[in-house]
Symmetry: C2
């Protein structure tokens, strides 16, 4: 595999390839050309070939791609060929929604613990996972080999919690709080800022309505 | 305002400018240079100037930006100077989490109705909004001038529901279901694919760990 720097646009598309290849497998498709994949995914065939060439290709000229092999290799690139132990910090509705997503565990993300400060829900079980007090986060991370912390807690507590989970040894934070986290190169952060997504939708609605009027 | 095509990268950054400018306002900051804004947002000053020049500038040489004015203008570009009436289709944990986000209503996104098929929750109120049966979606959209539908329903029902809300007249769909929607240029779609976000985190964790080993 090449060691070139992969652009973030390519990395953004990889999970989508992975999903489509999974759907093809479910439909019993064993082999697919970049042309066919292109039609289904609504991206150009040359884009697909270019993207996959970043990782050394995977295709045989004239034979197309072996769906199962390609999916497995993309899974390896995405690092989901290994299990990731995850915790959720914040057991509100969003934290519960995440605990409830069964597609995460299918991709190897295993939720091991949920943390909150609300005594009313501590000790309860959400989707089979116990809610514990946040004061136990650091100890739990160390004992259970946790590498991802999902943050579904109020923005005001995020900075402090980030330091705690980083010091305890997580490799990544999946941040839903509406604030930017920067922990240098110690811990990787993936932000899901729902308000910003909604504003992009609003922008595109306004833009689309202008186009229709022209 | 220029009518050039704005790149999606710029549009992605606008909500973040809007958020930072809002925080500055809360802190009582009235005027800011692109240099200072750059330090806070951890993007280059030239990037900020370039981004804002897409919309005609807003800055006065040597005087910096008027925070309140700039925020209001970016709000207009994002289309959040007007109210958006929104419905949520799917009253599960994720639908409830979205209904519960008070920052959406602050930005003018008003949740008017929540829909589900589960008779146990129909008639209940979630954050002050009534849960109704999905069979009433089309009528409700027409009567209440709804322009955004948030989809937090199972993937298998998304295609059918998309046709219903599009025909009833929404302008945009905010799609959380793990499938791609394509409704041509009739309705704008913004996807929030949480599994894909988690896979990007996983990729970046693997990539960061390789870098540390080098």
């Amino acid at each position: 595999m090449k060691e070139n720097k992969i652009s973030s646009a390519v990395i953004k598309r990889l999970p989508r390839y992975y999903r489509y290849l999974g759907e093809l497998l479910e439909q019993g498709v064993e082999r697919i050309s970049s042309g066919e994949l292109s039609k289904r995914m609504k991206v150009t065939a040359s884009q697909i070939r270019q993207d996959l060439n970043n990782f050394g290709g995977f295709g045989q000229q004239g034979y197309g791609y072996n769906v199962e092999y390609l999916r497995r290799e993309i899974g390896k690139i995405l690092g989901i060929d290994k299990k990731h132990n995850m915790i959720i910090v914040g057991a509100g509705r969003l934290g519960q929604a995440i605990a409830n997503y069964d597609s995460f565990s299918k991709s190897g993300f295993v939720i091991k613990g949920i943390f909150d400060t609300d005594e009313n829900i501590i000790g309860q079980s959400i989707c089979g996972v116990e809610v514990m007090h946040v004061s136990k986060v650091a100890e739990f991370i160390k004992k259970n080999d946790i590498d991802i912390a999902a943050f579904t807690l109020p923005k005001s507590h995020v900075g402090e919690m980030a330091t705690i989970v980083a010091d305890a040894g997580v490799s990544g934070i999946w941040n839903f709080a509406h604030t930017d986290l920067n922990l240098g190169n110690k811990v990787v952060v993936e932000n899901v800022h729902l308000s910003e997504s909604l504003m992009r939708l609003s922008y595109n609605i306004a833009d689309n309505s202008k186009k229709k009027k022209r």
